[in-house]
Symmetry: C2
Subunit: 332 residues, 2 copies
């Protein structure tokens, strides 16, 4: 069981959330179903990608947090629909990211691209995106459609920029943070914001929720990047070492390069360009880059938590604070 | 100049449509623009994919056809917005199809996948889909969002089914027509239907327009499949012979296989499985499959035209009838 799931089940809102997420899963599966067997078989395969359901959880918690509620009466079909929509968008990004990263393993299972080829993965991702927008449209609320379109625009821009900057060894920390904010922060931020809006939150509360989710996404991605450098597939459940293989400069590498003297920096450049993981390990072991990167993620989580101070006290807000701590220690 | 463009310019509605399509292009470019240079450079490249703008043209003509109007006063921002939206969806399918088909040439230029790799093509296609849904949402009309989501669901299903049936040499004509209807017919049908709805057409008129577009798309795709077998890149402006290379059984091949005796069918199966284009040519030359396939496309165009009989007389309807004839003779 993941850290986030256990955090939820041990809390007052545990049962409520477990029931709601079950309903979200049912909606997700029902809306994804096709009358074609081939399509359904592929959809069943990606069901296993669904792990912690962090994004649906944040939609539901944000909706409760704006009023301090802990009552299931304050959650309705609209909340569960948006929760399923964001999970579909997230699944689509995983399926397409695995093509980009040539990943073979995800949540301990073979990826769609490795099983069925890139072509099927492209189309299955498109199917998920289409289904997500369609499900969102069933709510009949143009402002939510517009918000979803805005966040996917930003997300795709982040992906394109990151791709175009592969092998750019001199990428700056600010560009890295910008890309990560777009790629990972934007959707999590939108989950919190849309949940807040559906919960009847004030603009101030919804903006704070957006900022919280945006920060949480950035911290999440930084941790992910560190795990890609040091993790093992058996622990993370997905392919590791891909960032270096693909020439992606992540925060620990950017910080390492910045702290090196001219001679070591030349060595670093050779090591990265030749995808030499053990040579990189030696340089990292002798540096403070890893510590400072994890400290940066930690600082961002502290900032994220401070965003929620303006929300009313309540179990949903408390659980969101716990979840943000979990970002730093997941997979451990 | 393509046949469709010259057909338009020689008609009473020519100038009106040329002006409207110019406005649609401006909207398309404006909405696609990003504040990131890398993203904009990629978008500029795909601008050249935009040729005949058949789908935007059909949105605009359908809006006029339901009332028999030929006045630009009957076209407003909503029509031009939907015209730009369907063109974005179409561009996205081209970018992603080129990955699926490993195509190197499109409209006489290098494809995104061949220039920048599959990864960039995946993300650029996603960016186009996202921008299309976002632009559609700016209209604030949930029913149009829902209609767009429905058509992209069907389109993606068609793509997945086609992919999963690659190398299925025994595919039936009815499954082929079902896939082509979903893949190509659905979007063109939706262009005509949405145009009709925006033009204030009755349900009967809009359904007839949808059926017209659906048929036109199917005839278009059959012609495309014939051109892929016999065309030359210099004429079609795109890679040819890809269907055979990729194990796609298209209508001429299905009809050829069905008319062969057991001995020749075994020969056919070997020729197709070994991607032997000249061996295939010999079998096709000795058969009626090509003629019967073009006749099938012709019959579908006749059926498409009959769908429009219930619409009021007018120059827009007349032009749509001409455009449907053009489907059979394009690229020639």
């Amino acid at each position: 069981m993941s850290l986030i799931e256990s955090a939820i089940l041990n809390r007052p809102l545990g049962n409520l959330l477990a029931d709601q997420l079950e309903a979200v899963s049912t909606l997700f599966e029902k809306h994804l179903a096709s009358n074609d067997e081939d399509v359904n078989n592929l959809c069943m395969h990606i069901e296993r990608y669904r792990g912690k359901m962090l994004r649906p959880t944040l939609v539901l918690l944000s909706a409760l947090a704006v009023s301090g509620s802990s009552s299931k009466e304050d959650l309705d079909d609209r909340h569960r629909t948006i929760a399923a929509v964001v999970e579909m968008i997230h699944m689509a990004t995983l399926v397409h990211d695995d093509i980009l990263d040539e990943s073979e393993v995800r949540r301990g299972g073979a990826t769609i691209n490795s099983l069925h080829g890139n072509e099927v993965a492209v189309m299955l991702g498109d199917y998920l995106i289409s289904k997500a927008f369609h499900l969102c449209s069933t709510l009949g609320d143009p402002s939510i459609n517009l918000a979803l379109g805005e966040v996917t625009n930003i997300l795709c821009e982040g992906e394109v920029i990151q791709l175009q900057r592969r092998n750019d060894i001199e990428i700056s920390e600010s560009l890295y943070l910008d890309v990560v904010g777009r790629k990972t922060g934007s959707l999590i931020g939108a989950c919190c914001q849309m949940g807040g809006v559906l919960g009847g939150g004030t603009k101030e509360h919804c903006d704070a929720l957006q900022a919280f989710g945006q920060d949480m996404g950035i911290a999440f991605q930084i941790t992910d990047d560190v795990l890609d450098l040091f993790g093992e597939t058996a622990v993370t459940g997905k392919s590791v070492g891909r960032d270096l293989d693909l020439g992606k400069m992540t925060l620990p590498l950017i910080r390492l390069r910045n702290e090196l003297n001219a001679e070591d920096r030349s060595k670093f450049d050779v090591v990265v360009q030749s995808r030499d993981r053990s040579g990189l390990q030696d340089l990292l072991d002798a540096s403070k880059a890893l510590n400072s990167t994890m400290q940066a993620a930690c600082d961002i989580v502290i900032r994220a938590k401070s965003r929620l101070e303006i929300l009313p006290d309540g179990p949903a807000r408390d659980l969101m604070l716990d979840l943000s701590d979990g970002v730093l220690t997941r997979h451990s």
